[in-house]
Symmetry: C2
Subunit: 412 residues, 2 copies
């Protein structure tokens, strides 16, 4: 059965436009941070779509939303398709959104065709994927996959001091379903690439074979307050200058490895007290480095650590790595990757293998279930920017691949 | 009359200790930001001292407090001695405080000696000198000297969005006296040097001949948001990196001129949105440069402006000077400087001429009255730091100079 199904592209696009009208950003994108009123409104919309389609909605205690289209053998572990509906502070209309709504379109297409799969298919909207409000990103798939406790998630604090649990309760999306603890047959996530490769090559589908080895660090720079006016240069210990030197060094490392598709980022800098008239006594800088292979990443990390003493000496500050972490060193499920490749070949869809450079909920799901990802093109690779854009026709091959592969898996 | 008067050093020290107990910082200094509860408590204390001494207290509509010891000819313009009792976020116990309390000690010494001066002597505590809460610093002497309107001052907003007028009303120090508009015979301000010269040379008094030519700029860096992970280096326009490059360039300029006693500072950096996961699209950096002479300052400013295009190109951001200002190019009153020199010679107090590198209320008062400043030593030049320290014995020569010169002027 189910040899060459196709989704309804215009219906998919309409759902995307509905989403794009909820929590509009000032420049045509979205600012729909997790657990805000805008997020609630989008969740209400998804709930409404679930009711319309007759999909059973279950919401767990962290607000993760599951829309279930029942299979002929309800006791079998379901196939899960998901992503997230929250966005960045200056987010686009497709990052995350496309993955959830493509899942919804899969369910609707099966309704159109009156096809029942053997296993149920569920579409999931994960809470707080972006990490733009509560840290870390991919927070609730982390817990769902058994890698963090609910208590720990509930105690996460946003920058205004609001607890995750309180924000979730406020918007009325603290459900009753347990968080995780059930078997999933397979997890599929479709996402815009967030890089320029598919757009440049005009290949419509990226089969994501795994993560991009990544290294993160929180650098602490300790200086000393002093008057910003008379204090002689030789007596200064300005944390801002120490942090600026580290940021420039990190950027230089990124450029030194750019030809090999590596990146190094200083994305966030906090200063204390950050006032005119007084030199800052403390700074923390968040550093992120990504490389296509672990050896290059190890070299970049070495160069980064080697740069710190020089920055400290030149700025007369104390600089240390206060915290560090790594991620992205893993491969997605070989069987699912083979299924995607075979299905694409059968459908005549050109694909290329890619590694995901951004984190995704699929990273965490890969720890508790066979997981895979499909990338679709995004214009110029622009993302986390309101100008983020896609072309429907270039996106549909990926969505059709998702449909056919998920159905094949659900009928297994 | 009044040929060689001396203050009561231990009484002065006691008042300083009382002040040091109000709004204590976590590390032994003061955190007594203007118009906070701590500031109110210190103002209440000053009011109490005024009542004890029988000095007429008048508070103007911006909260500036004047303690008047009447002269034998009350209709003559008074001699004013003043500074400020507010401090930085990480402030010391002496910056500003010493000047007000030295003035109080002058009044008390005249009481001890039962001396009435011809002109009244008034001690003033200026509101919001530091600029740590409301911008700009020296806010209320600016208005008092006729260089800003009360309305403009009242509408200043702190970083929490609180209006100056509301903060002032809240602590109950919105008085009824008009702001300025009366003639002052002379303005004296005693202040710790906030630099290391007196401490290094062990000369107890600096006669401040004028300001240190200073240039300030608010630099705007326009970037573009993008995903902090996958975005290729060549497609990034990270405002944080642009700002870091400017900060490093400014610091380098400071060092290039450090041997000539010049400084260049990047003290405050604001980033938008400053989140992990997304490159910042906007930054503003506050730059401050000070030099002993206008020619050197002009060179430094040229070097600064010349550095910006390179920073913009290397960071792929747009960098511009959004606002710039200058100050410090003026001399204090020649007659008062001569009075200070003559008086010090008569008292056998060694002095050196200095230019003030920090801004002071005396800068503004110099626009509406003959004004002068006396510097006293501070340990290692450390200031705007809780470790700020002085030695009473090294401070008393300056306070005695203030006493004798102010009395001489008041008897003129």
């Amino acid at each position: 059965m189910a040899s060459n199904l196709t989704v309804n592209g215009s219906r998919l696009w309409e759902t995307i436009l509905v989403s794009a009208s909820i929590g509009k950003g000032p420049r045509g994108g979205l600012r729909r941070l997790t657990l805000t009123d805008e997020d609630r409104q989008m969740r209400d919309q998804l709930k409404h779509w679930a009711q319309d389609g007759g999909y059973r909605l279950s919401i767990d205690r962290l607000g993760n939303m599951f829309l279930r289209r029942e299979g002929s053998e309800p006791s079998l572990p379901p196939v899960l398709i998901g992503s997230h509906l929250d966005t960045q502070w200056a987010g686009g209309r497709f990052d995350g959104v496309l993955g959830v709504l493509a899942g919804l379109e899969v369910l609707r297409t099966l309704d159109d065709l009156n096809l029942q799969t053997r296993r149920a298919i569920e579409v999931v909207n994960w809470t707080n994927e972006e990490g733009a409000r509560f840290s870390p990103p991919m927070l609730c798939s982390l817990a769902w996959s058994g890698q963090a406790s609910e208590e720990w998630v509930n105690d996460r604090i946003d920058k205004d001091g609001v607890r995750f649990a309180d924000a979730l309760a406020r918007i009325g999306y603290r459900g009753e379903a347990p968080v995780g603890g059930r078997t999933v047959d397979a997890y599929f996530e479709l996402h815009i690439e967030q890089g320029p490769k598919l757009d440049e090559t005009k290949i419509p589908v990226g089969i994501v074979i795994g993560g991009f080895p990544s290294y993160g660090a929180r650098v602490a720079i300790q200086g000393e307050t002093a008057h910003a006016g008379p204090t002689p240069m030789a007596k200064r210990s300005n944390a801002l200058i120490g942090a600026a030197m580290v940021a420039v060094a990190v950027n230089d490392i990124g450029w030194a490895h750019a030809a090999d598709d590596a990146k190094a980022t200083a994305a966030r800098l906090d200063l204390v007290p950050n006032l005119p008239g007084i030199l800052s006594e403390y700074a923390q800088l968040f550093v992120d480095m990504r490389a296509p292979d672990v050896n290059r990443l190890a070299r970049m990390k070495e160069e980064f650590l080697a740069a710190l003493p020089g920055c400290a000496e030149r700025s007369r500050t104390q600089i240390s790595v206060a915290e560090e972490w790594g991620f992205g060193v893993f491969d997605f499920d070989a069987e699912l990757i083979a299924l995607l490749r075979d299905t694409a070949r059968r459908l005549g869809i050109p694909t290329m293998d890619l590694r995901s450079q951004a984190g995704h909920d699929a990273y965490h799901m890969a720890k508790c279930a066979p997981a895979c990802m499909i990338f679709t093109p995004c214009k110029d690779g622009i993302t986390h920017n309101e100008a983020e854009d896609i072309v429907l026709e270039e996106t549909l091959p990926g969505v059709n691949l998702l449909l056919n592969a998920a159905v094949a898996r659900a009928n297994r």
